[in-house]
């Protein structure tokens, strides 16, 4: 019997080793490469010093990498089962943060759990992907457009998005809404619904402008439209970011030589505007390398989704990719003055533990889907619970 135990253990180990071997290491390498670009930039903006950003970010990445692989090894069916509980918990935390949350930069975003600081809105990004994927897993293409299916799906998105908007955190709310709607779209939402809704949204923009947006949000839009009107005030960030990017030219000013960032003309250089630092120091060349890496990551993600047997797995994989894509689009567009300033980090590059862990958590799920791509989850399983 003791031998049996030993065999049993080795069997499990063998299974784990098999999963590890099956893991898409190319994706892991691509993620690590992007993070390394981030470390270099954080080292540069700190005046060629590991303190105070690069060293901490590297530790977080180490933790995050282990977490990601750990998550990848967990059977995707577990995540299927945990989808609703995680969503429920996240929703509770989002409600709680309204009452006991700590304010950072004018928005209530943080909650303290012992020594841990938690941003429920970040957790929700993962939770929504899981919950929505699980819900849609049980819905046939023809049924997606039915109100009985569509309304619960929209509620899954709308509840957390509304709470996040209350904080107020426009950027995250946008990612939740667009990412969530993306999943419904992928699940096969009828064009007969999509087109009228798009038209309706276009019509609703002026109304939303008047009644929904807060003054500071409106201000961001105003200054975006004409940053030079107030070059030292609210338009400063956009103007300085464009100057930094443009002055980088083809190959940049060199590592650690970015005058705009080193001399503090660039605000929030280690977080929201780190894309600009890359452009200033490494030029168009550096930006294209990063965009290439991002594209490769997304390519891998899409390939995983298309190679997965369960609709749940496919939707989770695409959900993670969509979130990742939205981060990239919003941050780079903002840095280049294409959209108003929104506090969204450049994924895997910007300084910040929570965002990094969230993204790595997401990639963990993506890898879990990849490792367990052959696993079949019956459609009827979604109906349970």
């Amino acid at each position: 019997m003791p031998l049996n135990d030993t065999y049993g253990s080795t069997g499990r180990e063998r299974r784990l080793m098999g999963k590890l071997r099956a893991l898409n290491w190319t994706l892991v390498a691509l993620i690590t490469a992007v993070c390394c670009i981030g470390f270099a930039l954080l080292y540069s903006v700190a005046g060629m010093s590991f303190e105070p950003w690069a060293d901490r970010q590297m530790v977080r990445f180490g933790v995050g990498l282990v977490l990601m692989i750990g998550i990848a090894l967990i059977d995707v069916r577990w995540w299927f089962q945990l989808a609703y509980p995680i969503y429920g918990l996240s929703l509770l935390l989002l409600v709680a943060v309204e009452f006991v949350g700590r304010t950072g930069k004018g928005a209530e975003r943080w909650i303290d759990i012992g020594p841990l600081q938690l941003q429920p809105s970040e957790l929700m990004k993962i939770a929504l992907i899981l919950a929505l994927s699980r819900f849609l897993h049980g819905v046939l293409v023809d049924d997606v457009s039915r109100p009985t299916r569509l309304i619960p799906a929209l509620l899954l998105i709308g509840l957390p998005a509304g709470l996040v908007l209350l904080q107020p955190n426009l950027g995250t709310a946008m990612i939740l809404i667009v990412g969530g709607c993306g999943l419904i779209f992928l699940a096969g939402l009828s064009w007969k619904i999509i087109l009228p809704v798009v038209a309706l949204i276009a019509a609703a923009v002026p109304v939303g402008w008047e009644f929904v947006l807060k003054d500071y949000q409106k201000q961001r839009v105003y200054t975006f439209l004409d940053p030079e009107s107030d070059p030292l005030g609210a338009g400063y960030n956009i103007t300085q970011s464009k100057i930094a990017l443009g002055s980088g030219g083809l190959f940049g000013k060199g590592f650690g030589e970015g005058t705009q960032s080193r001399l503090n003309f660039l605000p929030e250089k280690q977080t929201d505007f780190i894309f600009t630092v890359l452009g200033e120091e490494f030029g168009l060349f550096g930006l294209l390398i990063l965009m290439g890496l991002y594209t490769a990551i997304l390519w891998n993600g899409v390939a995983i989704a298309l190679d997965t047997r369960s609709q749940f797995g496919r939707l989770v994989a695409m959900g993670v990719c969509l979130n990742f894509l939205l981060y990239i689009l919003i941050n780079t567009s903002m840095s280049m003055g294409l959209i108003p300033v929104v506090g969204i980090p450049l994924p895997l590059v910007s300084y910040g533990g929570t965002a990094l862990l969230t993204v790595l958590f997401g990639f963990g799920l993506l890898l879990s889907v990849q490792v367990h791509r052959a696993v079949d989850i019956p459609r009827s399983a979604a109906a349970l619970i």
Binding site: G249, Q260, L306, M336
Partner: protein, 623 residues
């Protein structure tokens, strides 16, 4: 995949994924285009803006030149000045920053208001001066806290300092802040915060030389305007050091002897016109003017009866009184109207028409020739002397001696005085010239007005036998001697000069009016001429009263001119003591003391002082 509906779902999913991916690709292409637009198409524009952000051109204020006396004593120099400046544009909330500063350095609420007003007036990117002359600890405190004080800058400028204070106030003048009008003339340098320029005296006259040329530094600044490093630097040219002809020791003794009185002393080298000493008493402390003058000090200086702000040596105008008599004598001799041996009988008064002209000696001097008349300062003799010479000859001779004109001295503000003649009287008073006017001029009264500087020039030209020396106070700029024109000859007859010299010799050395001020140094005997200038017409009630019993401001001015040695004179002096009573009592003794020191030092024979070289760097300010 047995379930057909599953495969439908998969196909729908992959189709939608393809659509989404193409959309993403399109967006990425758009982003790449934007990157290309910014960093390739608009690169130059943004590169220029980035450079604009980072590089500031700052002027480097040149060192101001020092001022020395002829022996190399420092009369004006600069001391390090720890300053705190504030750039309004960067501070944003000025009041808050000043509030923080006031906890580090002493800043009164009034001063803060003043700074706020200054900030409002100047351009937002120009720093305004918050405090200067800070002690090292205060300065260090600000420097340590500077990163938390937006817009606050510190630098080490220089502060003008005058080691001898009030003893040289009228010679050196002072430096003070610039006005908007000055800035128009030289906007760059003069816009430097706290920059000061010469406002009076040599500081003003030699300002161009003393000021130097500004250097410039290209510096890298951060977003808060703080200088990170220097990129390049063009050294300025330090101001030239200026050496004066003054001898500080002579200046000191003259000051001491005038202490408590209002008056002036001018000592000159009779061969070159170099001024050895020029004193106007009382003086003021020019150090008080380099900062902001407190209104209390200003009020006090303005209301002082002794007028410390006036440079009496060049702006005080006095009737020359009897010191003028040598010129009258030379005018009469030159015109041929009189010979040295012609005698005039003095009875103590002389009647002209219905007017009586008195001699200062009640009983009269009896029979006087020219030598005796100068020695005893006989008024009756000089009434006659002036009458015979006539006003035109007197005026001509006076002009030769430099009366009624200015000399372009390097101390601004000279007054020309007045040498009256018939044309002047017609012009100024619309009246004809009368003999009585000539009588008055004959004893240096009436309309004749002279400055102490003019009296000294007159004495010097008498002493050197008629060389028209021009007075000056600056010997060299930046170690290079000034080139001076050879003085023209006034065309005096040496025999006539000898007569006057012997008369003046007798004044101090043969029991004349200045006998008490005889100098007992071998080879440095002094010849002089006393003078007393009436401040107002004496009323019957005041005549003959002891001068001590008359109110101060109605007392006569005491005057004295002299030269030494008698044979081959080298130095001339003029002394004026306002309301000091007679010249023999008030002025001559001062001349004796001063000339004794001159004799001991003999400044004209000392080696020429050449100032040392200096380096160019100075405090940095923002352009």
């Amino acid at each position: 995949m047995s379930d057909g509906r599953e495969s439908v779902r998969y196909r729908a999913f992959s189709r939608r994924t393809a659509i989404l991916s193409s959309g993403t690709l399109g967006l990425f292409t758009l982003l790449t285009g934007r990157m290309f637009q910014l960093s390739v198409l608009q690169r130059e524009q943004f590169a220029m803006l980035a450079e604009d952000n980072r590089v500031n051109l700052q002027l480097i204020a040149p060192h101001r030149g020092r001022v020395y006396d002829r022996m190399g004593t420092e009369l004006a120099n600069t001391t390090p000045n720890n300053r705190v400046l504030l750039v309004p544009e960067q501070a944003k909330d000025l009041r808050a920053v000043l509030g923080q500063l006031s906890q580090l350095i002493p800043l009164s609420p009034q001063r803060i208001e003043r700074i706020l007003r200054d900030a409002l007036r100047s351009k937002a990117f120009n720093p305004v001066l918050v405090a200067e002359g800070l002690r090292w600890e205060e300065f260090a405190r600000v420097n340590i806290n500077a990163p938390d004080l937006p817009g606050v800058e510190t630098d080490q400028g220089e502060l003008r300092s005058y080691p001898f204070g009030s003893w040289l106030s009228h010679v050196l003048g002072y430096v003070a802040g610039v006005t908007d009008k000055d800035i128009e003339k030289e906007p760059e340098l003069l816009s430097l915060p706290g920059f000061r320029i010469g406002r009076s005296g040599v500081e003003k006259a030699a300002d161009d030389a003393l000021r130097g040329k500004a250097g410039a530094a290209r510096v890298e600044v951060n977003a808060h305007g703080r200088v990170i490093r220097e990129l390049g630097k063009r050294e300025g040219t330090p101001g030239q050091d200026v050496v004066l002809s003054l001898d500080m020791e002579v200046q000191k003794i003259a000051q001491e002897k005038l202490a408590g009185q209002s008056g002036s002393v001018v000592v000159m080298d009779v061969n070159t016109g170099e001024i050895i000493s020029i004193v106007s008493a009382p003086g003021f402390d020019p150090n008080a003017f380099t900062g902001t003058v407190s209104s209390a000090i200003w009020k006090q200086l303005n209301e002082d009866e002794l007028k410390p702000l006036l440079n009496k040596a060049i702006t005080g105008m006095y009737p020359p009184g009897s010191t003028y008599k040598p010129v009258i004598a030379l005018a009469a001799l030159a015109s041929g109207a009189m010979t040295p041996r012609d005698r005039v009988h003095c009875t103590g008064s002389r009647v002209l028409g219905n007017h009586v002209f008195h001699c200062w000696k009640r009983g009269g001097h009896g029979s006087m020739d020219m030598h005796l008349a100068i020695k005893n300062s006989c008024d009756s003799y000089f009434y006659e002397c002036a009458r015979r010479a006539g006003i035109d000859a007197i005026a001509a001779m006076s002009h030769k001696f430099g009366l009624g004109q200015t000399y372009g001295l390097e101390i601004p503000g000279e007054k020309a005085g007045l040498m009256p003649d018939p044309a002047w009287k017609k012009r100024a008073r619309n009246d004809v010239w009368r003999d009585g006017d000539t009588f008055n001029v004959g004893i240096g009264q009436g309309a004749v007005l002279t400055t102490p500087l003019q009296l000294c020039v007159m004495a010097a030209r008498l002493a050197n036998g008629g060389k028209a020396i021009i007075p000056h106070v600056i010997r060299s700029f930046g170690g290079v001697d000034r080139q001076l024109a050879v003085p023209t000859d006034m065309g005096l007859n040496p025999e006539h000069v000898a007569v006057v010299h012997s008369g003046m010799d007798a004044v101090t050395n043969q029991g004349g009016t200045g006998a008490r001020s005889h100098i007992d140094i071998d080879g440095f005997d002094m010849a002089g001429k006393t003078g007393t200038a009436q401040v107002r017409k004496l009323t019957a009630g005041l005549r003959g009263r002891n001068s001590d019993s008359i109110p101060w401001k109605f007392r006569d001015h005491g005057l004295f001119i002299a030269f030494a040695p008698v044979v081959a004179p080298r130095y001339a002096i003029s002394v004026v003591v306002e309301h000091g009573g007679g010249g023999s009592k008030a002025a001559a003794p001062i001349a004796k003391e001063v000339m004794t020191v001159v004799a001991q030092r003999d400044p004209a024979r000392q080696k020429l002082f050449v100032p040392p070289m200096r380096t160019a760097s100075g405090p940095v300010g923002k352009a």
